[in-house]
Amino acid sequence: MTTDNEKQVTAELQNQHIHRTVLDNGIVVLVAENPAADIIAARIFVGAGSYWESQEQAGLAHLLSAVLTKGTQKLSSLEIAERVESVGASLGTDAATDYFLLSLKTVTSDFEEILELAGQILRSPSFPEVEVELERRLALQAIRSQQEQPFTIAFDKLRQAMYQNHPYAMSGLGIEATVATFSRADLQQYHQTYFRPDNVVISIAGRVTPAAAVALVEQVLGDWEAPAVPLPTLKLPALAHQPGRTMTPQQTQQSIVMLGYLAPSVRGAEYTALKLVSTYLGNGLSSRLFVELREKRGLAYEVSAFYPTRQDVAPFVVYMGTAPENTAIALAGLQTEVELLCTSQISEDALQAAKNKLLGQYALGKQTNAQIAQIFGWYEIMGLGITFDTQFQKAVADLAAPELQQAACQYFLEPYVSLVGPESAVNSLVTPVSI
């Protein structure tokens, strides 16, 4: 049931207007004018990231993100840092799974200067040899340091089992064997291939008019020309469904129990249904896993589910950290809850509650300028377009309980399982137990 009050609330939370402009060289500029604070945030998306890495390149986009801001044809690493830090701005890079990101945030009066700097960094990074060497060494150390966290170990093993030769198999940091081989030439090659205006989305939110923002981008990047060669097309391996268990004995206080399922990409027919299932199972204090396994049984402090929005087949994961002696119970508990979604339909009340939660929190995720710039730029670079924002919300509102059940039955087949914990606790679970 939707009351007038609810409609009003939803309308107010969605009240965002995005201006979309395409420059002659192909750059897409999105602007959300928001005069509330004297701040401008920009997110510059490049169609690159770990998804575009071959197996031999695992970790290359991450290394690129570390070295990109450390020199241009005109400026040294320290000069770049001075320009940013002297005005108290922030300028950061991130190699995400499906895209590459350059983020900036300034007070309004400094925006032009920092955007000009970002333009230089995007177009003509110099990748100084000494910086490549430093960041490569630090990346190798970061790969080793990740192994300190039981959750990271569990998720690494799960991903490898689920994705085999697919780029989603690895953490964005890559692995020691590949990162150790990277050179300056590899970075230059990757940069030349993907950093081109027809592969860039610039999303701006804050105290700036759309006309002024577009003029600024035009001034900084308008003369950047796209090369004549087309962007490379991806050749990805087909995924084989081979569920199994991986056990990683570690001297830890807790066991991490993690179950994964191969689930649809953002374009998949059941994407929205499984987003709602993920909310129902794992989001918040009233979620199914939290109530059944933490509140009623005291098995865990952290128990949750996640289903990231991806270009390609996404992982649907449920997990918890539990006392080693409860490892088997936790595994059975998680699997039972997931399978229940296929064997029985969720109630109308639970369906409506999950929708309200998902849509409400989605709206709350668009509060800061950076969040607004992020979400619309991301939809644009993924090829979904900015209208995906409203389409998604409508699709959630329109879902019916049988659709959730059908999606659950289709995708929640036998799970991939990853266990990390004391040897005695995990090794007894090598073979599946019947539940």
Partner: protein, 421 residues
């Protein structure tokens, strides 16, 4: 009648209600969201020895309902309206916050007030939730940085409660009772210990009326021992400890100094500037030298944490074990320089600019504003939150040098080193 405490220039209004509760409000006409953040002076510092861990455990138990509100109802009410609720506990406070679309505050706030004022702490839920807290403690012991920071805190605060983990220990928790927790709750969750902050798309009058109406029926007060102020012995020389851990992939060097509490807030703001000078950004002294130029560390950061009775300044480096001694020596040399040489005008301007912008960037949402106001009002007065940018702008190099001389000694500090087994 209610009494208005602040000058009209402030963006937030502070009202003391008749029952002693403090109400802070700010109307943000552009946002459709409203945040309620309730701060209670009932953190771990209020615990007697046998109740270590209770303030945090109580924060969990608050969500287990009251005589008229079964467990889970509150969570459902908030989340079914698309809202978010959560809570956190530290030494100086526990706080509980709810974010919803503005029209839903009317529906949700009565539930939050009911939980906070009339927590039932049912016996069976107490036993079950204790297992959850024990799992929380276990997960912390799988985190090397948490272990290191805890050991460092214990080392620098040998008597003050700031040295103890807010989580308590398994042994202490197993010996606590629901009755003891009810006593702790009824003693501390009283109006004079509470600040209710409402920030967002609701004007002052209806927000005040709502808070006045819902925060009325407090529990009957119980007696809980008042703790005496603890004199922390002065740190003289270096307090060093070394911990070896399995599964460690790199070493940690963690150094700490105590600094004035909130009664000398200007010193605290100055130490914020010094922290930025040392480790904020690639131009900062320690990142530039240790990470960028000499390649001695994976990362290095410093942090100034403002606390009510004694603040904490820390420097942490992630590095290879063979660099530990050299990096510690170089950090001491940098502190020595801070005491002897004035910071250049350019560096000072950069640090000020960073902190003032950071203040603007971290007061963008109602959640951030409500947290800021509630925190300052709980450890001191909310006005301190508003004067921050002007105070930062007014520092001169001489004052920062004297702060370094007084509080960041290269010869007296606590240091905890983590090494792989």
């Amino acid at each position: 009648m209610s009494q208005l405490l602040t000058a009209p220039v402030s963006p937030a209004t502070v009202t003391k209600l008749d029952n002693g509760l403090t109400f802070i409000h700010q109307y943000l006409p552009a946002t459709p969201v409203v945040v309620t953040d309730v701060w209670v002076r009932a953190g771990a510092s209020r615990e007697t020895e046998d109740s270590y861990g209770m303030a945090h455990f109580l924060e969990h138990m608050i969500f287990k309902g009251t005589d008229s509100l079964p467990p889970g109802v509150f969570d459902y009410v908030i989340e079914n309206r698309g809202g978010i609720a959560n809570a956190a506990t530290s030494h100086d406070y526990a706080h509980y916050f709810v974010t919803t679309a503005a029209p839903y505050l009317e529906d949700t706030l009565p539930y939050l007030a009911e939980l906070l004022l009339n927590a039932a702490i049912p016996d069976d839920e107490f036993v079950r939730e204790r297992d959850v807290v024990l799992e929380e403690i276990s997960s912390c012991y799988d985190d090397a940085d948490w272990i290191g920071f805890q050991a460092l805190s214990e080392s620098i605060y040998q008597r003050h409660s700031y040295g103890r983990s807010v989580l308590g220990s398994k042994l202490k928790l197993m010996n606590q009772s629901p009755e003891g927790m009810r006593c702790f709750h009824r003693a501390h969750y009283q109006p004079e210990n509470m600040t209710v902050v409402v920030v967002g798309g609701m004007t002052q009058e209806p927000a005040l009326e709502l808070v006045n109406r819902t925060f009325q029926q407090f529990s009957t007060r119980s007696n809980y021992p008042e703790l005496e102020a603890v004199e922390e012995p002065l740190l003289a020389g270096v307090r060093r400890q070394e911990i070896r851990l399995p599964r460690l992939e790199q070493a940690r060097l963690m150094m700490a100094w105590t600094a004035p509490g909130v009664e000398r807030v200007r010193s605290a703001y100055g130490l914020d500037l010094l922290s930025v000078l040392l480790t904020e950004g690639r131009c900062s002294r320690l990142i530039r030298e240790f990470r960028e130029e000499q390649h001695l560390v994976q990362a290095i950061s410093s942090n100034f944490s403002l606390q009510r009775e004694s603040s904490l300044f820390t420097i942490t480096a992630w590095l290879e074990p063979q660099q530990l001694e050299r990096v510690e020596e170089l950090i001491r040399a940098h502190l020595n320089e801070l005491q002897n040489t004035l910071i250049s005008p350019g560096e000072l301007a950069r640090c000020k600019r960073f902190l003032c912008n950071d203040y603007a960037f971290s007061t963008e949402t109602p959640t951030q504003l409500a947290g800021l106001y509630g925190y300052y009002n709980t450890i001191a007065q909310v006005e301190l939150a508003m004067i921050y940018p002007a105070q930062i702008q007014s520092f001169q190099a001489e004052e920062l040098r004297s702060l370094a001389q007084n509080y960041l000694s290269p010869h007296s500090y606590a240091v905890t080193v983590l090494k792989p087994c």
